[in-house]
């Protein structure tokens, strides 16, 4: 018996076979189990191929494409921040240190708190005692070690600005080119 050709089987599976040939193929399939199983096998193969999981690009793919498509001015501010994350974090740390230094200098200059109620008075007394104790301890320590040189506020601001400029330069000329090269 002459079996069906590959073309006949595939066209029959796809439903693209011509009407005249279809009749011949169907008649053959009724009597030939080998060709029937071949047709079934091809159908299953196409089905299995259609169920294959697609290859997915990496997680940030969409963001990267959008970054390339959108003009610079239209990019989302969050993306700009993320791109300069190193600089932003460093700036935050510098500002936090600066703020802490300024706040602590203000609190040391503040006077004794004045309160009305008795409870607060008790607390005040305790606070005063603790402060006195600490002052005595501080004086003792100062007499033991040489006095450190205080940094003036102008120097502090200048140092902060210098560090910001340095961090900006590192970000622009060292970090950003590497990020771009990796992309």
């Amino acid at each position: 018996m002459n079996h069906l050709t590959t073309r006949e089987i595939l066209e029959f599976v796809d439903g693209t076979i011509l009407d005249g040939q279809r009749t011949h193929v169907i008649a053959h399939l009724e009597v030939c189990s080998r060709c029937r199983s071949e047709v079934e096998f091809h159908r299953t193969l196409v089905g299995a191929a259609r169920r294959q999981p697609p290859h997915a690009p990496t997680r940030k793919f969409t963001d990267r494409v959008m970054q390339r498509i959108l003009p610079k001015g239209q990019r989302r501010w969050i993306q700009t921040i993320m791109n300069n994350a190193g600089g932003v974090i460093a700036m935050g740390i510098v500002l936090a240190v600066l703020g802490y230094a300024l706040l602590s200098s203000n609190s040391s200059a503040s006077t004794q708190p004045s309160m009305i109620t008795e409870m607060v008075k008790v607390c005040d007394d305790l606070y005063a005692k603790v402060q006195e104790f600490l002052k005595v301890q501080a004086t003792k320590l100062e007499s033991l070690s040489p006095k450190p040189r205080a940094i003036g506020s102008i120097k502090l601001i200048l140092l902060t600005l210098l560090s910001l400029v340095a961090l900006g330069a590192v970000d622009r000329w060292l970090i950003q080119p590497r990020i771009r090269a990796r992309k």
């Binding site: 590959t6 073309r7 196409v46 299995a48 191929a49 697609p54 793919f61 969409t62 494409v65 959008m66």
Partner: protein, 212 residues
């Protein structure tokens, strides 16, 4: 992704996980041209996996494939205002992906080409292969064998098979995407399927004889 269905000339895709009918490409493109960035991200998300699968089959390298589809998306969106709807957006996009991948292959010196005799349709008129082995077609193992064997097909055939099976394109659309003549598409697709059938049959046959 589930199969796309043509509704009133527009392509609507049913999103896997949830039977929500998402907006057709045409509407999303209108929104993109009106400056809606969310629509842009959504359209990229919709097509990126299929584009990546196609590029992977052609380039066989993850990094190269991702770079290629990135370029393809950028080119497509930059040319979007000039898009004329002669074909669906996906057909147009996959054509760009194909072109970018071919350029990448050309740069590497890997541009696939066939000897003239290889596209000869007469080879398809030969009797079919030996009877297929008796197997459990729905099993996970069978699926995994089919996946492996598609990955092993030469890029030329794997590409056509991907467009036909995974993208579920008809011959005419494959012709549009690849720019190949209809006869060549048919022959390559039939050949790809025959190669896949033989490779899977061989694997299953070996497995069966080992079990005996």
């Amino acid at each position: 992704m589930k199969p796309c269905v043509l509704v009133g000339g527009l392509r609507k895709c049913k999103v896997l996980h949830g039977n929500v009918m998402s907006k057709p490409d045409q509407e999303m493109i209108r929104q993109i041209l009106a400056g809606e960035k969310r629509a842009l991200a959504e359209l990229i998300d919709r097509h990126k996996d299929r584009a990546m699968t196609l590029a992977m089959r052609m380039l066989r390298n993850r990094e190269d494939a991702e770079e290629a589809i990135q370029d393809a998306f950028v080119r497509a969106f930059q040319a979007l205002p000039r898009f004329e709807w002669k074909a669906s957006f996906s057909t147009w996009l996959y054509r760009i992906v194909c072109n970018v991948c071919m350029t990448a292959l050309g740069k590497k010196g890997d541009l696939p080409h066939l000897a003239l005799g290889e596209d000869d349709e007469r080879s398809l008129d030969a009797p079919s292969a030996d009877a297929p082995p008796d197997v459990e077609y729905e099993s996970r193992e069978f699926q995994s064998i089919v996946f492996d064997e598609i990955e092993k097909l030469p890029p030329l055939y794997a590409t056509i098979l991907t467009l036909f099976c995974i993208q579920e394109m008809g011959y005419e659309v494959i012709v549009e995407v690849t720019g190949l003549p209809l006869g060549t598409v048919k022959v390559r697709l039939f050949r790809a399927r025959t190669m896949l059938r033989l490779a899977v049959g061989r694997r299953l046959g070996v497995r069966q004889s080992a079990a005996i």
